[in-house]
Symmetry: none
Subunit: 250 residues, 2 copies
């Protein structure tokens, strides 16, 4: 693995996990701790990360847990959410899973909205505490803390007894040919199930997730009804529209 490649990986890991421990990186990247230390030192002097004893921290807002992570207002996500709002109407049964983009959407739901929201994500449920006319149904399970959703057999079985008009799916990776994928198989299973019990499926994706792939396939992209993106090239747009997906990009 090239040095530059490795350092980029380190940056990605720091951004994703908000902190890294040098010895940990050494094992994950299969190089000596000395090399990692040299990398961290270099990245720190470039100002990309903040070096601390025994590891490094992400620069910028000192965030650590999920609840504070949501506070970072992201204009892109907010714009996506605004577009998605057009597809949400009163008296729908919505199924919403985890992810910061979905959470942003829930925050932007009008307080006057009437309907039902089914979710396996505690933060989503809490964000709806002021929506007096929305009935919130939580699906239980084992809490997966990294993405703050309930997963497992209990979650799966609970979904067996439900249905929804619109599933708002949180996306990690999407590729027009490979489909929608995610790094954790347990999440893939639940998302697939959720899609199968919903009449329509809507997904919001930021550009950095377009045309990326990871280990576990959720479903092909043509399971989506609506795909909401930032501006994309016309040919990419066509690629999705050919599959019958309504793509909203402006």
């Amino acid at each position: 693995m090239l040095k530059q490649e490795r350092q980029q990986t380190i940056i990605d890991i720091v951004n994703e996990e908000h902190k890294v421990i040098a010895s940990d990186l050494s094992r994950r990247l299969s190089v000596s701790e000395d090399t990692i230390r040299r990398d961290l030192k270099e990245l720190d002097s470039q100002g990309v990360i903040k070096r601390v004893h025994s590891g490094a921290l992400r620069k910028g807002p000192p965030v650590q847990d999920f609840s504070t992570r949501q506070e970072i207002f992201n204009e892109t996500k907010s714009n996506l959410a605004n577009k998605a709002l057009h597809y949400i109407e009163d008296d729908m049964v919505l199924l919403i899973d985890g992810g910061t983009t979905n959470l942003q959407l829930v925050h932007q739901l009008p307080l006057s909205l009437k309907g039902t929201v089914i979710t396996n994500s505690p933060p989503i449920a809490m964000a709806l505490s002021n929506h007096t006319d929305v009935e919130v149904i939580m699906i239980g399970g084992t809490l997966f803390k990294q993405s703050m959703v309930n997963l497992g057999i209990d979650t799966y079985e609970a979904l067996n007894t439900m249905r929804a008009d619109l599933y708002i799916m949180g996306i990690y990776n999407i590729d027009p040919e490979i489909g929608i994928s995610i790094p954790r198989s347990s999440e893939a299973l639940i998302k697939r199930k959720m899609a199968s019990i919903s009449t329509e499926v809507l997904a919001m994706v930021t550009n950095d997730k377009l045309d990326t792939v990871s280990n576990h396939i959720v479903c092909p992209t043509d399971h989506l009804t609506y795909l909401i993106t930032e501006n994309v090239h016309a040919d990419i747009k066509r690629l999705y529209e050919k599959q019958g997906i309504t793509i909203i990009d402006q």
Copy 2:
């Protein structure tokens, strides 16, 4: 846990709770008091907090009357929680329902705690997001927003398949003769069920809830194993002890 991370956590706690006790922080963050003292000293010299004997205070605007009252309230709950911590050990299966006192307790659980927490309250689940060695099992249901707990038939049925070593019950009303009661029958049902699947039951009550009653009975007081209170008169204490309850009031 990284030093910087820990110090940031301390800052967050100080800002949240306006005052901290060194020995409490030691437990919550699972490091020695010496380390905490060093942290506080450092943060004080940075001017982020104000170091005082036995702990630290939040810097900034002097406390107003209203928030002072709020603080005293919190302090009571925090004290109750500290006493309750003695009954919680590694590798237990805890069942924790809703309520601000229970939430306070969860915030004060040591980060190093190992075990399982079953809960029907999304805020409780979220408060455990940093406890890496605690498996959180959420019980689903219909979210009752007023007290932020999941209730209903799904909740009841999920509880049928579980058991716990210790149930930490949130209390609204308690009277030595009438028993434990609550204004909502749906909550009473779930609490009763929770008590029935747990080996021991612990409850924390502030004085304003002692000797009060409301419509729906959860169970008689003798279903409690431990009752943690503020200081109470000896005769009230005897009243409970006569029922075989361990009462902790100091």
